[in-house]
């Protein structure tokens, strides 16, 4: 009988400092299987898969691929053995061409008498792109010329061109638009049809259930269960992930609640060349205003423009009757706007600093006494604030890069809550965040709303928008193309029809 198992993992362990990231995991992945891998943030999914892909070395345990012992030394080595992985973060090498990025680690086959045959590289890269029907990318261009999504697609090509026996996809769909996702799904199915295997990691449980044959659930570095995707519901998976039953839905359940008619923020004719086109709207006190659209619709730029980051915007923003300078972050902050950017790693947080500094950074005016800034006062303040959202940490002197995605987001929110901001612009607030933290953030939004804060939520997840917003505006090519008021009957289709 032919061997059915593609990859076998035996008792893998990996610790980081005192954290057991992966704690004795054994797993079989069959040939021609699409396996979902789910779990909360920090449950060890990515660590496990990085060990399989040669990005990390296990502390102990063994692996086999098609029955052969397998101990990858690095990523290129894993590729040679037929394992490739697309990681969560953007992972292209800046300053190099698209083609060089596709063949990174595999340049050897283009080397001729010690010289690299760039022409052959370009030709082959182009073939791969065409094969996957990705258009609009010039293989000779610098990778930085492309958007986040296009770069992710290029990574896809990089992972696929070796025709992997095992393709690992870690939380990639969050940055992809519908079209990009379609490409990804196509690649996954093609891999499956050729008898190879796919491991798919995502927080989007609906997507996992739709796509995968079976789903493995992890919790706290250990395997909880592997179940067949057929007949499972999202809630079943959630309770497996959390370890107990979740009650009800985590979205708001009130409908028809009246919001105040007091306008807090009035935006008139906001223009940003190529991104926003005469956008005007009002934000009321205590309102959660959702913005939806395709990722290139300009909605992310809108958030930045309100916070004063986009430098070439024109138009007027009036805050409680006073016009504010839309080119100054400082003024935006002073007027009580808090902005949670989509790019958590670079824009929202200083990863290389501790929680204390990240929280206090916006609150210097409050903490200062003359020019004197008391370290003790800072520490107490940070501790007090960190407790508000229950950030999981040893103490506030823990560095932010050691936190999980959900906890990082809590720190970002804390830094604005601590300042006492009353207008929040949240861009993709739950991107790549686990179920529990998500639910907590939704609760927090409701709390903030009840406290009289006005909140703008920009999100690519339509269900989230429908679930939390009092009103939804849809952007399309920089214009507002639709407006919806909170209602039970609102469906994704309604919104999508305005988006495209």
């Amino acid at each position: 009988m032919e061997e059915q198992v593609m990859v076998h993992l035996q008792d893998l362990h990996k610790t980081f400092g005192s954290t057991k990231a992966v704690d004795g995991v054994s797993l079989d992945i069959d040939k021609g299987e699409i396996r979902g891998l789910v779990g909360e943030n920090g449950s060890g999914k990515s660590t496990l898969m990085c060990m399989v892909a040669g990005l990390l070395k296990p502390d102990s345990g063994s692996m086999t691929v098609e029955g052969q012992p397998y101990a990858p030394q690095h990523q290129a080595h894993a590729n040679d053995k037929g394992v490739s992985m697309i990681v969560q973060e953007v992972n292209t090498l800046a300053g190099m061409t698209v083609a060089e990025n596709i063949f990174v680690g595999h340049e050897q086959k283009f080397i001729n008498h010690g010289l690299r045959d760039l022409k052959a590289m370009f030709v082959e890269a182009k073939e791969y792109l065409e094969e996957m029907q990705i258009s609009g990318i010039n293989v000779k261009s610098d990778i930085d010329a492309y958007t986040l999504e296009q770069r992710k697609l290029i990574e896809l090509v990089r992972a696929a061109h070796i025709k992997p026996k095992l393709l690992i996809i870690d939380e990639t769909t969050t940055v992809l638009s519908q079209k990009g996702r379609a490409e990804l799904y196509k690649l996954i199915h093609k891999t499956k049809d050729s008898g190879n295997s796919v491991v798919f990691i995502s927080h989007d449980l609906r997507e996992v259930l739709d796509l995968c044959d079976s789903v493995t659930v992890m919790r706290d570095g250990q395997l909880v269960d592997t179940v067949s995707a057929r007949g499972m519901s999202e809630n079943d998976l959630k309770s497996l992930m959390v370890g107990r039953d979740l009650v009800g839905s985590y979205y708001r359940e009130d409908y028809g609640m009246l919001t105040s008619s007091e306008v807090v923020l009035e935006v008139r004719n906001l223009n940003c060349p190529g991104k926003l086109n005469d956008v005007s709207f009002e934000l009321y006190r205590g309102e959660i205003l959702g913005f939806g659209g395709l990722s290139e619709s300009g909605m992310h730029n809108l958030g930045k423009a309100l916070f004063g980051v986009e430098y070439n915007t024109t138009g007027s923003v009036t805050l409680e009757g006073e016009t504010i300078n839309i080119h100054s972050i400082k003024e935006a902050i002073k007027s009580g706007i808090g902005y949670v950017p989509k790019d958590r790693e670079h824009e929202a947080l200083i990863n290389n600093a501790d929680i204390l500094d990240n929280i206090c950074i916006t609150c210097m005016d409050q903490l200062q006494k003359g020019v004197y800034l008391s370290p003790i006062k800072k520490k107490n303040f940070a501790r007090e604030q960190a407790r508000r959202l229950n950030i999981k940490m040893n103490d506030v002197d823990q560095f932010v890069y050691t936190l999980s995605g959900g906890n990082k987001q809590k720190v970002t929110l804390t830094k604005w809550l601590a300042r006492g901001a009353n207008i929040f612009v949240l861009d993709s607030p739950t991107r790549g965040i686990d179920v529990m933290t998500k639910a907590m953030i939704y609760d927090l939004l409701t709390c903030m709303k009840n406290d009289g804060c006005s909140i703008i939520v920009i999100s690519e997840e339509l269900l989230e928008l429908i679930g939390v917003s009092d009103r939804i505006l849809i952007l399309k090519n920089g214009n507002i193309s639709g407006e919806f008021v909170r209602s039970k009957d609102l469906s994704e289709e309604d919104l999508v029809s305005c988006m495209i």
Binding site: C50, E89, I361
Partner: protein, 324 residues
Amino acid sequence: MKKETLPKILKSSAILIGLIVLVVFFAIVTKGQSITLRNLKLILGQSIILMLVSTGVFFVMTLGCMDFSVGANLALSCYVMAKVSTVNIPLGIILTLVTGLIIGCWNGVIHAKLKLPSFLVTLSTMYILNGLVIQLTASEPVPVPFELFKLDEFAFKIPLLFVVLFIAYYLFRYTRFGSDCRMIGAGETAAIYSGIDVDKVKIQAFCIAGVLASLAGFMNGIRTGAASANAGSDMPFNVLIALVIGGLPSGGGAKSRFSAPVIGSILISVLSNGLVLINLAPMVQNLVKGIIFIVLIIIMAEKQMPKFLHKKTIGVLAEEKLSQ
């Protein structure tokens, strides 16, 4: 709570241990000569100038920038002092410091407003000032007025040094400015998004570096008695080494500690002094210095990776992400 393991403590105080080892080593080799009061005073006198300059550059490096112009700044300031002091001494001292302020401001404005790499900006400044000083001192060396020589006393220099160190420490540790410097060094984009006026902080830091370099120029003037073109010519590199050896992460950031300029400067002075005392030929001295520096840097490498190693290469990226 965190438990500090013995190797960890050893590592974090590696530089202090290194300093003690050096002192003991030279004391033995020179049969006690190196630890006579006279020699210790000499070391202190030598390290004051370096310490002043490193303290200024410390702020700049905490931002993740570099200032190469401090040596040339020192030389020009020294010239200004020598020239103007012949007319009026207080005016001479004030103009000396103003010279440093202007140079620092120039570096800061060009770097921050035109968004040019600081090492290129300050390198150009270094050449401009160098050329200027060579022109000015070409015909004759410029002597410093005699009255100022009596300031070359520890009774004046040590309190001055302590005042400067105290103010700098206070700025770094207990004011918004110090905190902003560390935050910008740790993550400039996020600092901007948190409302820090990055340009202003950068200009201020370069101004501090400029003023302290000119103060060092003043000290140099009263010590050597004349302004010469090659004063402070190796200063930028000594400062860089002093700070890195003193434990400043070369990318700056949140982990910057104020002990870096103090300990680093003393260590370099002890080393230079010791090598002279054991009668090593100048050529060999550099060789030995270089080897000692690289060894010290390797010892501390783990806790302070230079920024270019932080580049998100595939492996590093995964490690970073997963250590979360």
